[in-house]
């Protein structure tokens, strides 16, 4: 689940739903905003979810809290090997949020498939298109 800013909204429901139905799969959220202190939406809930094991991984990117801005796509790249492994294992990847962010995330995913999937650019595009066709890669960008 990649949902910086208001894009995190549906993922709150996803995690609550999966908890409620006792889903066994793992959950990984990547969230970003400008400032950790004031814009970490639903922070208390994410802290609780992590602690309770309802969320297994949480990565954060607060772009204006450091000298060098850092965005969600960087977090993806940093953990590219695991991202690719999750995709290969059948994970569903959801992106929600600003259109521009959606484009940056898509480019990052492409790079990840190239580097960790050992594919060239064209094959990487096809890989991602296949994921979208099969419903394993869904986007709600606005």
């Amino acid at each position: 689940m990649i949902g910086p800013g208001t894009g995190v909204a549906p993922f709150r429901g996803f995690v609550q739903e999966r908890t409620a139905i006792g889903a066994s799969g793992r959950n990984w959220l990547i969230f970003g905003a400008r400032h950790q202190r004031s814009q970490f939406l639903y922070q208390l809930e994410w802290q609780a979810a992590l602690k309770a094991g309802q969320l297994q991984r949480l990565d954060l990117a607060f772009s204006r809290d450091s000298a060098e801005p850092v965005y969600v796509q960087q977090r993806l790249i940093e953990q590219g090997r695991d991202v690719y492994a999750w995709l290969e294992a059948g994970a569903h990847l959801y992106v929600c949020g600003a259109t521009a962010m959606g484009r940056s995330v898509h480019a990052a995913l492409r790079d990840i498939v190239i580097e960790h999937g050992g594919r060239d650019a064209e094959a990487a595009d096809e890989y991602l298109s296949e994921l979208q066709r099969s419903g394993c890669y869904a986007r709600d960008v606005y």
Partner: protein
């Protein structure tokens, strides 16, 4: 003592020289705070985790954690800072803090409002100005205090040097600080042990103060370990040794109480480090490590008995202590305005209410002191009364300082009601986690209201020591005030009366848990009586004791005053 150790003891022992998991905590972006255990260890590094208590409810409703931030406190023996250091701290406060500086009742700088991800850059930057924050908080020796601007300046420099040497001798040796904040490479076995502190440091905080007569601004009788500089014919010959002072109290726990230090004897200059270390290590070995409310040296002494303590100390020192020498204290306050030093240089003491250096529309302390720091060629001295001295000004530069003071609305800071002159307030809300009531934010209001009452009885110019604390820990040393308010609940205080003007007598509880209306009603009655029944030149604190408004306090210390 076979009781269960306090959990903090286990934490210290297992912390690998105060490292804990600070690095991990600092890097964890899910929270703006540290893991609980690391918040305890952080204190030894000179910082407290805080949160904005005004925002707690609102943030909880917003599903956000408390608005965490960090306070950093400097280690600054005697409160002496260069203009370059002042400017650097001012810039850091603007960049990383919530703007403005605080000057504490222990002569240190505090910067508040630092976010977790800025903590390391701020501490690193402070160290680059040759100030550190080591042991400014925690179960260690704290900032060593020295009388800020005594009359005998020649001896002052020597006492200041003694204080600095002692501060350094009692620093923790762990390289944790340098590794975590200053990127020093870890060297295996570099700090295998703490020669003075041992693996669990002290049972509690430890406070040292040097008083240079005739001014007891450091409140030497409130210190765990006090030294009264004995000066004969302008020469520092040694110190009277005082042990066992302490302010902290817990409401409703009669086992806790403020205590004045006992005078044990006289020591020579060359004995200072040995004696100080002996007192500290005796407290290290015998202090209560089960109940932190009873850990301070004052309780250790009362439990062991003063004679036993003294004998143990003399055994460690290797000789018995001759009796204390005679000295005199006039008051605990600062002398505002210009004072000439022994060498023809000048010192200007500027009153800073609650030690809060910031700009308002009319009084621009922050930019004024910044402007002064840019041209000043002497130094700054933070006073134990939360004020600052622009020190060592050449006679021909006085005019320039005066112009800058005037430009920033600071020239009249010393004027006004006498009740303001000695007033101290701790920070309390919104950042202090221990505050039960307001202190700093309430001081201007309560001073105005007290002045209105005093003026009614012609007492506008009457010097009275008034202090307010947001909780009974007493960081503004309220138990040594002629009138004190000690916070108990929002808007409610214990009213304490009857300390003396030289800081040699504790006050007593007069009214418990009262609100402002009751405080003012009571003070009105007392001021009226004082105006009509006082003896000539009698201080308010002495008056309330003499006429029996408060019982003679239990801990009067017999003095050998000249």
């Amino acid at each position: 003592m076979n009781e269960v150790l306090s959990p903090v003891e286990t934490l210290k022992r297992g912390s690998r020289g105060l490292r804990g998991t600070l690095r991990e905590s600092l890097g964890d972006a899910i929270t703006g705070g540290l893991r609980e255990s690391d918040t305890q260890l952080l204190k030894f590094h000179g910082s407290y985790q805080q949160d904005d208590r005004d925002l707690r409810d609102e943030r909880r409703r917003q599903k956000l954690e408390p608005a965490y931030s960090f306070m950093i406190r400097t280690r600054l023996p005697g409160g002496v800072a260069t203009p370059a250091q002042w400017l650097a701290l001012d810039a850091l406060a603007a960049r990383y803090g919530n703007g403005g500086l605080r000057l504490t009742t222990r002569q240190a700088f505090q910067i508040h409002g630092i976010l977790k991800h800025d903590l390391k850059p701020t501490i690193a930057a402070i160290n680059q100005t040759l100030i550190d924050t080591i042991a400014a908080c925690g179960d260690v020796n704290r900032n060593v205090m020295v009388s800020a601007n005594p009359v005998e300046s020649r001896a002052h420099a020597e006492v200041q040097a003694c204080a600095q040497a002692l501060s350094e001798h009692l620093l923790p040796q762990s390289r944790a600080y340098h590794e975590i904040w200053l990127d020093e490479q870890a060297v295996i076995g570099a700090d295998a042990s703490e020669p003075v502190y041992g693996p669990t440091y002290l049972p509690r905080k430890f406070k040292i103060g040097f008083a240079i007569t005739p001014i007891n601004d450091v409140d030497v009788f409130s210190q765990d370990l006090g030294f009264i500089a004995i000066i004969e014919q302008g020469e520092l010959v040694g110190f009277n040794l005082l042990v066992g002072g302490g302010m902290g109290v817990t409401h409703g726990d009669a086992r806790t109480y403020p205590r004045l230090a006992d005078e044990l004897g006289f020591i020579r200059k060359d004995q200072l480090i040995t004696v100080a270390t002996a007192v500290l290590t005796t407290q290290r070995d015998h202090g209560n490590r089960s109940d932190r409310k009873l850990s301070r040296l004052k309780y250790t002494i009362d439990r062991l008995g003063l004679d036993v303590f003294k004998r143990a100390l003399e055994a460690l020192v290797g000789e018995s202590l001759p009796p204390p020498r005679a000295y005199r204290f006039d008051h605990t306050g600062d002398r505002f305005g210009w004072v000439e030093g022994f060498d023809g240089r000048w010192h200007y003491t500027l009153r800073i209410e609650s030690g809060r250096v910031r700009d308002t529309d009319t009084v621009r302390l922050l930019s004024g002191l910044r402007a002064i720091a840019r041209v000043h060629r002497g130094d700054f001295r933070l006073t134990p009364n939360q004020n600052v001295i622009v020190a060592n000004v050449d006679a021909n530069e006085r005019a320039l300082i005066d112009v800058l003071l005037d430009d920033h609305g600071l020239a009249h800071a010393l004027h006004g009601a006498a009740i303001r002159r000695f007033a101290l307030a701790c920070v309390a809300l919104p950042t202090c986690g221990l505050a039960m009531a307001e202190a700093e934010r309430y001081l201007p209001t309560i001073l105005d209201r007290m002045d209105a009452l005093l003026s009614r009885y012609g007492l506008h110019d009457e010097p009275i020591v008034f202090r307010i604390s947001g909780c009974p820990n007493g960081c503004s040393r309220p138990y040594l005030a002629e009138i004190a308010l000690v916070g108990k609940a929002p808007g409610r205080y214990n009213l304490m009366l009857g300390a003396d003007f030289q800081g040699r007598r504790l006050n007593r509880l007069h009214r418990e848990n009262i609100d402002e209306a009751a405080i003012l009603t009571e003070l009105d009655v007392l001021f009226a009586r004082f105006a009509s029944d006082r003896e000539a030149g009698e201080h308010f604190g002495d008056f309330v004791v003499r006429v029996g408004i408060v019982r003679a306090p239990q801990f009067i210390v017999a003095k050998l005053s000249v």
